[in-house]
């Protein structure tokens, strides 16, 4: 009897509820990069009220949403918490973005409204801020292999996330705000959980990260599975380079520089505006590059 061909079992959480900024592109990236290599995959969607078999999942996706959707997701996630936590402790691979990232942390305290309790898988807390961080981000990641990867995407969040000692940052911000606009960190990592603020969506633009997730998921279930076959990633490289360039325009660099200054002990914060949107408008006038 021949063994069943390797299959990546993808669990796609809240496809309707947490899906605000094209994040389903992450799913498309995983599916296509499997398909192009002839690797089988299955996708299980689990929305509100459905508890999927997390023990049977190799790769779990938990995406972003706005505050209201996030509140609903938090309420429902409580019912999924036990088996999800077990899967994470058993090294299931998880990609989580924005609100999903905040939900895997300890809590999210929005500027108006009650505190939303998270799963506490990540040693991170999130505080709502007076302004939104909106713009392209460039970061540098080292996932333990010693090799530096460039990460890029688009952030749009008002939450400031602060990591505790139990979580590592996913990367160091080169341009943009990242976790909180202060300490230069972007995202978080714990076991095989990869958390980020980056939309874009993040996986199509950063195929190295998509492949990293796939190979970790495959290696966990199929220890003999070799390295992934390389793909022609010319289009991805162009999109990555363009986004990276946009992030490193003066506005993005200025923000990263301001954060760097505040890191060395001189708190230099953007002037707090009574109306959080003033900042967005101010930025608009700078967005005239072609």
């Amino acid at each position: 009897m021949t063994p069943a061909p390797p299959t990546v079992r993808i669990c796609y959480l809240y496809p309707r509820l947490l899906s605000v900024a094209g994040d389903r592109g992450n799913l498309f990236a995983l599916m296509q990069r499997c398909a192009w290599r002839g690797i089988r995959y299955s996708v299980t969607e689990a929305d509100v009220g459905v508890v999927p078999d997390f023990a049977e999942s190799d790769l779990i996706l938990l995406h972003g949403g706005q505050d209201r959707e996030m509140t609903a997701a938090a309420r429902d996630l409580a019912a999924k918490a036990g088996p999800l936590r077990e899967a994470i402790e058993a090294d299931a691979v998880v990609l989580t973005v924005c609100a999903g990232y905040q939900l895997l942390g300890q809590y999210y305290a929005p500027p108006d409204g009650p505190v939303i309790q998270g799963l506490g898988v990540l040693d991170a807390v999130t505080e709502g801020g007076p302004t939104r961080f909106i713009g392209h981000v460039a970061a540098e990641c080292d996932l333990g292999s010693g090799r530096q990867h460039q990460l890029t995407g688009f952030e749009n969040h008002s939450g400031r996330t602060y990591l505790g000692s139990g979580a590592q940052p996913l990367g160091r911000v080169l341009a943009g705000a990242g976790n909180n606009g202060e300490d230069g960190t972007e995202g978080a990592r714990y076991r095989e959980v990869y958390a980020t603020y980056l939309h874009g969506p993040v996986l199509p633009k950063n195929p190295w990260l998509a492949d990293h997730l796939l190979s970790r998921a495959l290696a966990r279930r199929y220890p003999d599975f070799g390295p992934l076959a390389p793909l022609a990633d010319g289009v991805e490289a162009q999109a990555h380079a363009a986004a990276f360039r946009l992030a490193r325009r003066p506005a993005g660099r200025w923000r990263a520089a301001a954060a760097a200054v505040s890191r060395i002990g001189q708190p230099l914060r953007a002037p707090a505006t009574a109306d959080g949107n003033a900042k967005i408008e101010a930025k608009e006038t700078r967005w005239t590059s072609r």
Partner: protein, 488 residues
């Protein structure tokens, strides 16, 4: 509209506070400067003068718009929302015109502060007097907060709220809060016209003093039971419970009810009760209003244009027209409309056919695809997006567009714009074959390549964001294929 015409037409108007001579002088100077700028830009052909005059006038007098609006006795209508602003305004203008009103409007879709100011300027003479009786403005959601307090509209119309340029607006709900602030500030004499089928729009500022009018579709045949992927407001705005829909017409628009708290679609004042799609891509609709039942021929394709017609009719009811509008006149006004430029606009490009479609968010893109896909033949497509102040920086929303449905039909694909890289990435993951795909960021080169790749007799579909749509249109205008946009 007859019932509305019976309202006293002359409402007491608050006189504008007298302004000081120096403020008046500044206004006059701004007006002269703006008008000169408009003439110059037309003569020197550096654009249609749709926003440059406003830029100049506001430079000279930052309070220009406020002063110009206050000095005018015209009725003022502001139309906002994510989609359908331009078409709704065109329909409303046609209805108002048929009802005897001269209209000043920002017709070319320039709905930022400068464009609105330019439109107002075109409507007034050098002494600052407006000889039209209706000032009809479509205003971008983000500009709303700066424009509305200056213009002080009598009627405020919200078409819908879809996710659109979240990089510019932050969240959907922050946008909703801006709209609520505007509606709450309207006086009791004003009317707010709302899409009753949009759960978020219908529940905006429920305690505001202004009179409310709801429009929507109450025809069972049109629609499905499940919101599409890109649907936004599928939760109750009051209690967050998942909404249940008796019928979904478009994205999250439909007949909804909340099983949690009982919040439901409000009673519709202007209700489309029947929609019959026609072979010429338009539809024949029946609309029930307090002023009677209208049979309208909507010459523009798609259910979204049925919504636009209902919105325009409701807006027409909110205005007190000088004379009541007969159903036949309303019918004639609407059926004579051509698509706004770039709204599935059919263009003869020499030997070839071009269909120009302006797409700016998942809802408008999906609505366009729904119109294009059933048309016969393989699809030749030019897809163009650029990052600009108007078009935004974040194109992640392309991943919420159902491009997977278009890709199997593609015979040729040219990708262009300053963000051609993003568009190419999206199409690659949607399955577009490299053999049929070309990436040419330059717009002229892309248009030529796309036309070359399209055999005579088959249409080239251009799917473009706002700025590249304007660019491509002006290239085609220089070639004599389309009239200038400001002459429309």
């Amino acid at each position: 509209m007859r019932t509305v015409a019976s309202r006293p037409p002359a409402r007491p108007r608050e006189r504008s506070p007298r302004i000081s001579p120096s403020e008046q002088a500044r206004f006059t100077l701004a007006l002269a400067g703006g008008k000169a700028a408009g003439t110059a830009s037309r003569v020197l052909r550096f654009g249609g003068g749709t926003s440059f005059p406003g830029t100049v006038a506001l430079r000279i007098d930052p309070r220009f718009l406020q002063k110009a609006a206050a000095a005018s006795d015209a009725r003022k209508v502001v139309v906002t929302g994510s989609n359908g602003k331009t078409t709704t305004c065109r329909m409303l203008a046609a209805l108002a015109h048929a009802g005897g009103l001269m209209v000043t409007q920002n017709r070319t879709g320039s709905n930022l502060l400068q464009g609105v100011t330019s439109a107002v300027m075109r409507g007034i003479d050098l002494r600052g007097r407006m000889d039209t009786q209706l000032l009809l403005l479509e205003v971008d959601e983000a500009t709303l907060r700066s424009v509305t307090p200056e213009v002080r509209p009598d009627t405020f119309l919200v078409t819908n709220i879809f996710r659109d340029q979240l990089d510019r607006f932050g969240e959907l709900y922050s946008m909703a809060r801006w709209l609520e602030a505007v509606i709450e500030a309207l006086p009791a004499s004003a009317t707010v016209v709302l899409n009753g089928d949009d759960p978020l729009v219908a529940s905006l500022a429920p305690g505001a003093p202004a009179r409310r009018l709801y429009f929507g579709i109450r025809a069972d045949g049109a629609g499905s039971q499940v919101p599409e992927h890109a649907a936004d407001t599928i939760r109750c705005v009051r209690c967050q419970h998942l909404l249940s829909y008796r019928v979904v017409h478009l994205s999250h628009l439909g007949d909804y009810q909340c099983p949690g708290c009982g919040n439901a679609r409000p009673g519709l004042d202007v209700a489309v009760t029947a929609v019959r799609p026609l072979s010429d891509a338009g539809s024949e609709i029946t609309v029930e209003t307090p002023a009677g039942t209208f049979q309208l021929h909507v010459p523009l394709a798609g259910l979204h244009n049925v919504y636009n017609a209902a919105a325009a009719l409701a807006g027409g009811m909110a205005l007190s027209l000088p004379r009541s509008l007969e159903p036949a006149e309303a019918r004639q006004a609407i059926s004579g409309l051509r698509p706004a430029f770039g709204r599935l606009e059919e263009i003869r490009a020499g030997e070839r056919q071009v269909v120009l479609a302006f797409v700016k968010n998942p809802t408008s893109y999906n609505a366009t695809l729904r119109e294009i896909l059933p048309r016969p033949g393989p699809k030749h497509v030019l897809a163009v997006h650029s990052n600009t102040v108007v078009d935004g920086e974040d194109f992640a929303w392309l991943w919420d567009v159902e491009l997977e449905q278009l890709v199997p039909e593609l015979a040729s694909l040219v990708i262009s714009g300053t963000r051609a890289d993003e568009v190419a990435l999206r199409f690659k993951y949607a399955g577009a074959r490299p053999a049929v795909t070309q990436v040419l960021p330059d717009r002229t080169a892309a248009l030529d390549a796309a036309l070359t790749g399209t055999p005579p007799g088959e249409p080239l579909y251009i799917l473009a964001g706002y700025t590249p749509m304007r660019e491509l249109r002006s290239i085609m205008q220089r070639r004599g294929w389309v009239p200038p946009s400001w002459k429309e």
